[in-house]
Amino acid sequence: MLFHTWEFVIFFFVSMLGYVLLLKTRWWMHWLLAASYVFYAGWNPMFLLLIIYSTAVDYIVGLRLEKSPRRKMWLAFSLINNLFLLGFYKYAGFFCDNLRTLFLWTHIPLDVPHPDITLPVGISFFTFQSMSYSIDVYYGNLKVEKSFIRFAAFVALFPQLVAGPIERAKALLPQLHQEPKITARGFADGISLFLVGLFKKAAMADFLSIYADKIYDDPSSYGSLALIFGTYAFAWQIYFDFGGYTDMARGIARIMGIDLMLNFNNPYTAVGLGDFWRRWHISLSSWFRDYVYIPLGGNRTGPSYKVYWNVALTMVISGFWHGAAWTFIIWGAINALGRIATMDIEKNNFYKRIPKIVKQLLVFHFICLTWVFFRANSLDDALTILQRIGGFIGGNAEIPLILFALIALVWVYQLAFNSRFKTLLESQALRVGALAVALTLFLILASSGNQQFIYFQF
C-alpha cells in the first residue's frame, strides 16, 4: 500500500476514524497496532509473522536486560537474531552467488544454488529500529518497555514501518506513553508535509526515473553528456523519491499527533561530505554514527588512521545495508574514501574561503559519482558509464529540457531558502500560489500507474 494511492487514502481514513474515536480510551494503542499490521499485511500477510516474531524477541530481551545478570548475552541474542533475519532474507542470495563464484575460481566441484527468498518489505528498517531499542536499554539510555502492545506499535508504526525514518526508541516510545494530541496545527503541518511529499514523489521522482532508467538500462548506447545527465536525473530522483516518502510519512504521523524525525535537510546544499551525511537519510546516518562509528571509537581513538578505519568500516557497512550487491559496497567505499580524504581539508582555511556555491557543486558532483555505482545495474555497467563519461563520447544526449528546468527551479528554491533571499519566500501569497501550482503540476504529471518507492527494496 503506497502512500500516494487511493487504497492508502481509504485505509488512512478508516484507521484515523477509529484512532480518533478510541483516543480517549485505553484501546487506542491496540487500534494503532492493528492498523499498522493491516498496513503491513497489504504486501504479504505471511511476513506479519516475521515482524511479530522480531518484536516478541526484542520485547523479551528488553525485559531480560532489566533483571538478568547475563545482560551481555541477551543483547548479543537480540543483535544476532535481528542480523540473522536481515542476513537470511536480504543477503543469503548474495553470499550464495559469491560462494558459487569462489568455488568456480578455485575449481572446487560444488554447486551453490541461488536461494529463492522474497525480501520482506521494510525489514532493514524495522530490524534496525528494534535493535536500537535493545542497545539503548543495554546501555541504560532507555527504560524497559513493559507493555508488549506499545512496544509492538513502536516497531510497526505504519507511517514509518516500510522505509523509515528509523526512529529511536528514545524519541518514539515516550510519545506512545501518552495519548497523542491531535491538534489543528499538527493537522495543518501534516497536510503540508504530505502535499509537498506527494509532489516530490509523484511529479518529480517518477518523472526523473523515466529518463534515469532509460539511460542506465542501456548505458553503452549513450554518450558522455547523456550519461552525466542520466546521473544528475538519478541523483535528484532518489532525493525526491526518498525525501518525498519521508515527508509523507512525517505528515501522516503528525496528523496522528506523532512526531517523526527529520530525515533529509536539503542534502544537495551541503558544503562538505560530512555536512552531506548530516543532511542525507539522517535517521540512518545517525544510527550508524551512534551504534557503529562511536562504539568503534569514533574520532576520539587517537591516531588518525584509526579514525579513518572507523569511517571506512561504518560507510562500507552502510553501503551494504542499502543492498546485497558489490555496487552498494563500492558505493559505501567511495563515500568512505571521499569522507576520509576531505576530513582534514574541510577544516582547512583555504577550503573555508572557497565560495559556498563552488563547494556545493563539488560535493554534489562527488555524490553523483557515487550514485553511478548505486544506480548501475551491475559493476560492469558502472565502469562502462564512468569510462564513457571520461572518454568524452559524443552523441545526442536526448535531454528533456522541461525536466531539468524543473530541477533547476527546485535547486534555486533550496539555495534561496538557505540564503538572504529567504525573506522573498515568506509571502503567504507566494507559498499558497507555489503549492497550488505544485499540486496542479502533480495532477498533470502523475501517471496512471504508481511507481514503488526506491527505498522499499532495501
Partner: protein, 377 residues
Amino acid sequence: MTANGEHASAEKKPYEEPFTSNAIRMSGKELIALAAVFAALMALIPAAWNKAETVKTEDNFRIAYDYRDDYWVYDKWATRAASEFPAVFLGDSVVWGMYVDNESALPAVLNKRLGKMSVANLAIDGLHSVALDGLVANYCGALRGKKVLLHYNPLWMNSQQYDLSGEEETSPHHPRLLPQFSPGLKCYGAEFSERMSVTLDRRIPFVRMLNHLRLCFFQNKDFKQWIVDNPGENPLGRISLTIDAGQKEKINSTRDWVASGIPPQDWKWVSLQDSKQWSYFQSVVARLQAADNQLCVMVGPINPHMQTAASLAQFREFQQEIKAWLDARGIESVVVPDLPSELYADASHPLKEGYELIADELLKTKLVSSLAMASSH
C-alpha cells in the same frame, strides 16, 4: 512567521527546526486558501479551455475512430449536436458506420432522405449498452428534450463474454464508461486506483481535459513519458485549439460476410433475464426519458444468415420480448427486418445498400417522420 511558516511563539518540538527539507509549512487558514485557489484552478482552466477550443465539424460529421475514447471531445460534440440538430442517433459501430464512408452511415442516409441535416451521428465504435449507460450518465448532459434515435444491438448478448455477465475477467470496450464500483460486473477486473482515476475523470473536468489533451496531442502517452521520448519538442507547441476529430474516410473496406467464408454459427445467447447489456439498456432508456427526450429504439440489425436454426430461433424469441418491453412503456421501436444475406458485412454491420433499407424502415416511424415534416415546413 518565518519563511517556512513557523510561528516564532510555537512550542519547540524535538524535530521542529528546520520544518523539513525545502517544504512549505502552511497554517490552517493558508490551507483553506490553498483549497480555494486549487478548486478555482480546477474549475476555471477546463472551462476556459472548453470555451477556447473548437471541434471542427462538417456535414454528416462523426467522431473519428481514433477519438472514440476521448469523451471530452464526445461531450463537446454532443453538446453542439443537441443545440444544432433536432434529433441525435446514439449507438455503436452499426450506427457509426463501420464499413461505410461518412455519407453512407445511417444518420447520413436519413439526412439525405430528409433533405436536411436533422440527425446528428452520436454513435461511437464499440459502444455496448453498459458503456452507453455510462456515456449517457456522464457525457450527454446536453441531451434534454431532444428526439433521440437509440440503437440496441442484441449482438452484445451473443456470449457471456460480450454481455459482460460472465465471471471470467475480460477486456471490455470502453472500460472508462463502465460502472466502476458495481459488484455485478465481475468480469471487469480493473485495479482500484484505475477505477478511482475513472471516477475522477468523470467528476473533475480538469482531469478529463488532461486525458483529452494526452489522447489528442501526445499519442495517449503519459505526459512525463512523452517529454522524455521527445526531448527536443515543446509540448505546448503540439497543442492546438482546433480539434479535427472527424472521421475522414472509410475505416475498413469489406465485401459481404459470405466472402469471408464464415460458416453459420451457434451463438450462446444470454437470456434477457440474465443479460447485463439488456439491463443497462433499460437504464439508458430510463435516463433519456427522465431528461424529457422522445425516444425511438432501433433493435438490430442482426445477420440471421450467419446463425444456425437453433440460434436464430432463440434470437427471435427475445427479439419479440424486447419489442414487447418497449411497447409496454409506450416507446416507439423498429425491429430491423432481415436484410438479404449479401447486404451484411458481418454478424451485424450492414453494407451501404443495407443502410438504405434500414433508413426506409426508420422513415416510417413517428419520430423520423416528424423530422421530415419539420424539414418540409
